[in-house]
Symmetry: D3
């Protein structure tokens, strides 16, 4: 399709009709990272092992965030998610935390927005918990990298 | 301060006590952008003028998102925001929409998280409305660029 | 049925059991209007064309409102809506904005409440955005006009 | 003021800055009614006395609805309400339930939207609980009738 | 199963995949009670009959609470509940209100959490409405007593 | 005071007027515990150290739950909390996890409900994460133990 389907013929926004789409197993995977000072990353690494588990809390926030997607994104359909997973990985050069979110449903519409929201809320929470030591952190590279199911079929980001 | 203040001595997370902080006028400005195919940007430009107002809807979503920050970010204090503004600007090379969010309050804690959340939800909404024509859009450069008020005083990102 | 089915034999409220109802295509259409000074309507008309898009924002609020129905109405079942559309029309005599909301689902219970909530939140948002120039606006004639699907079958308001 | 203040010079929507407004005692009173078949009103009357308390439930829904106003109305400021009251009165000719909501705060912005939302959610809930016996109910005459506090001072609807 | 299934092999929390589980009729029943001074119970009894219906309001809060379970419990799946019922019973010795919540769905995962949340919110609301006369009330014995449907089959608490 | 102040003279529920109460520093402390099989407690203990951090997740859920109190409890005032802390302690005989929540604000009304809600949501989350191995867990002894600030002054539960 080559048009923005959230608008009708008059250019007015609506929540598009998905009632005739088939219920299929749908998966979406999104990624993103938050770049920071190496000293900040050191705080996070120490926390994971012995106190102040920044990554554990951010992961929970991201999972809960995925469930709020239809509340945040105006024309997004509410969906009963069947799986949400958030993986976090530490990267040393440049210092950053990488986030990968995988969301699944059996439904009539895809879950890309839920996977993106999970990444965004996870990274926001890392910012919140580290901002006392590093206000200059930057969130970069938030994108969908893979999508399965639905009429448009499987898709992977070009690498 | 040099430690992650969302943890107590035992390394357990808590919502930090801001009750003794003074009520001051606080401002935070955040930015971010979503990069896309030039064809996608063309759809957005047309929409703004004549139908399908992607940017107008995204702006509203971002403002509403700012109000949900304490719902999304676990250790964030609920705040009565006094102002939220979201500005969007089209950039042609590379094709992108730039978002700047300004949030203000009179309160005991800063509004950086609210400004970041406004940017994130605005950009998520642009993704949602354009994903039928471009799944490969990327959100980049989400960061706080300025902050005023509070004990730590004014701050600007190093340029 | 001739009784208020949200109460059991003891007169205690409950969320009625819809688990045995069949999953059918359900549609509901609701309408309502907000009456205002002709000067206020003039502001709205100008905005739609060149700045300050009151109707575009109200439409988005109404769509998002439909998704919150089960949060607002105590005994309403949560539903995965498959379509929400909100149409707005300007009426000159008396000066008013007319709102029509259409909601669809494939589910075990109807979507009248969602269609009514969409109308109510749309009209509330128009009030909010125009109250600086006209506090006396009135919301009138909010009702369901049509309903399809479900055991009780199709229904239209008597005209 | 004679312009719609939710828009800036470029006609873009924002949540207006109330940070410089003074904190005053603010009150708003809204009304509205739901008209119905006399048989439906009879059901409600019986319920209030002996089982199935439609009005008691609707009143609670309206109070809770007032607290959700800033979630529903995009450019509404979040407010710490200090009082919410919802009164319901039965009217026989034409058969209807009349709702009056009074909301108060000590804050920098008015509570008209909260009072209107309380009325809307109260009446929606009555519709929900009676729709099994009367789909044709109509919500009429929802408006602010009185407002106190703030820079614009006291205001009453013209009678 | 003998492990905590909300964690993956690395011990990281996720929302478990229920996409392959079959859609069955699922029921859960939970109970709990709030113990109080006999004078407080007297206030509640009077209210039920003639004014101030504490139990009616608490029942509504519990039903609405069940709908918010996936918002409150981080790894809980969002579910379309088909029935929620909350029963309240007065017990004189020791003075207490007993709450029983029954929740049903047709879905891929159980509703124990929804039934527990309904009980908790019901009892919290009773506390709120009576705390002006009795701050020492205690919530006791909140547990699932019965569960039907799903792969693990029917279960009853050992008596 | 000797009456249930959430009702007016007619016995109708309302959110009581706190607008004339003074803004004071208010603190509430609540406790509660969840009793379980010793084998279940063993799972939790192992998780805290090496994988699957049940208590860390439950603590976050409790803190977020405190922020949702006014959404859950119908007549509760929305409040800007200045501190929320949740402490968890393992008790071996009988096997249980004890939860203590401390909530603070500077406001016109107390925070007992927020402290109770934090305990309830914390314990619900522990139930959720351990129910695969132990459906018979019981939540016991949820109560306010201390309260400071406000007109009624300081209060401690009788021991």
């Amino acid at each position: 399709m080559d048009t923005l389907n959230h608008f009708n013929q008059q250019g007015e926004a609506h929540m598009v009709d998905v009632g005739d789409k088939s219920v299929t197993h749908r998966v979406a995977v999104s990624v993103g990272r938050i770049e920071m000072l190496s000293n900040t990353l050191e705080h996070i690494k120490q926390g994971t092992n012995k106190k102040g588990d920044v990554l554990g809390i951010a992961r929970i926030a991201g999972i809960m965030g995925a469930k709020k997607t239809a509340d945040l994104v105006p024309l997004c359909h509410p969906l009963a998610l069947t799986k949400v997973g958030v993986d976090l990985e530490i990267q040393d050069e440049p210092p950053a935390v990488l986030c990968t979110a995988t969301v699944e449903t059996r439904g009539q519409t895809g879950v890309e927005m839920e996977a993106l929201t999970a990444v965004q809320v996870t990274l926001l929470t890392i910012y919140d918990m580290c901002k006392a030591v590093d206000k200059g952190m930057r969130i970069e590279g938030v994108q969908v990298i893979e999508k399965k199911g639905g009429k448009s079929g499987d898709w992977k980001v070009a690498s």
